[in-house]
Symmetry: C2
Subunit: 212 residues, 2 copies
């Protein structure tokens, strides 16, 4: 039986919709009263695990799930050792540098050397500023990153932007895009190579829906 | 004006109650319709920041908040450079090793060498197993750690236990306690030493309530 790791949060609805189209029903996870984190599809050919988006690469890397759906942002930040199979074309967002509108900075390069940048995406932010040869200090936050500049703790933030509403509400503007992100179908490399449980077939079905 | 970092989640209600007793009202944070993350008390002597529990030590370490309330578990895991002033005696929980009830392990020492332990508390778990000279591999998860043994990804977990309900529901039993945790009043070391904004006075008031 194939095990699929599905991410809690923003990508869940579209992920479940996608698998429904290939004949696998995990819609119980959308039921708010459901407490089960592991369910088997009625065809008994696949089961799904409901896990934090950040944990999807872990389950797939360890082979506990042969397939998973996760945002490119998480894959890139975690440098997960999984096979990145298909761009599923939903869950669009981008990882951006933002600063207070009232500041004079309009490009990453204009930020003060050794300035501070608050972010949940420590690796991605370090990579970006390393690439432009600007030494900065990352303030590693786990939520409400916009409080960094508001409280004066950092000159800028590196954070995910989808609609831009949160930035606007907090008087911040986007000045650079590090990368764009969408949901990806990922696989455990070895299981995929060995085609365990006819993984190929399921992946081909998903790809057909995406390409149609 | 003193800035106080308050943790979202389980410790928030008691934290707000405590500051109310010393004359500072931040109860707006308990209002579900509130979206503000920064509010000033009506006495204009203090403001509060509402941040993720894990971020409280960051705000206090960087001096963006002179005081904060955070669980000992977070302080210990993050090895935060803040002054740990007072045990506030609420928010009790413990960090424990748990295994499936059906397993034969009843002490940490009985776990198989090079076995896997799933945890959000990577540093604390590593320290524990290092201290008992047992080499293990940590599977770093960010949520639903109990899925580790359920899916067969790990032999054990290291996780916070308060009532023990989650463990029980998932067929797990506690076999060791790493440490106990309660909420702590923490301060920015330099601000505290220099007694900025009469920090001493506020801390003394809090201590009086706790010791009464």
């Amino acid at each position: 039986m194939i095990t699929i790791a599905l991410p809690k949060g923003a990508l869940l609805k579209d992920s479940i919709e996608l698998f429904k189209q290939v004949g696998l029903d995990f819609s119980l996870f959308l039921d708010k009263s459901n407490r089960q984190l592991q369910i088997t599809d009625s065809t008994k050919t696949a089961q799904a695990l409901l896990v934090r988006a950040q944990d999807v690469p872990i389950y797939v890397e360890y082979g506990q799930a042969q397939l998973g759906i996760v945002g490119y942002d998480v894959l890139r930040e975690k440098q997960a050792n999984v096979a990145n199979l298909t761009d599923l074309q939903f869950g669009y967002c981008r990882l951006s540098v933002a600063v207070p509108k009232s500041s004079t900075y309009r490009r990453s390069q204009e930020l003060p050397p050794h300035g501070r940048v608050a972010s949940k995406f420590v690796n991605s932010a370090l990579e970006h500023f390393h690439n432009i040869d600007l030494p900065i200090e990352i303030v590693p936050l786990s939520g409400s990153v916009e409080l960094g500049p508001i409280t004066g703790m950092s000159e800028a933030i590196v954070d995910l932007v989808s609609t831009g509403k949160t930035l606007k509400e907090n008087g911040l503007i986007e000045i650079d895009v590090l990368y764009e992100s969408t949901a990806r179908l990922v696989a455990h490399p070895l299981s995929y190579r060995l085609n365990r449980d006819n993984l190929d077939q399921l992946v081909a079905k998903v790809n057909k829906i995406i390409n149609d």
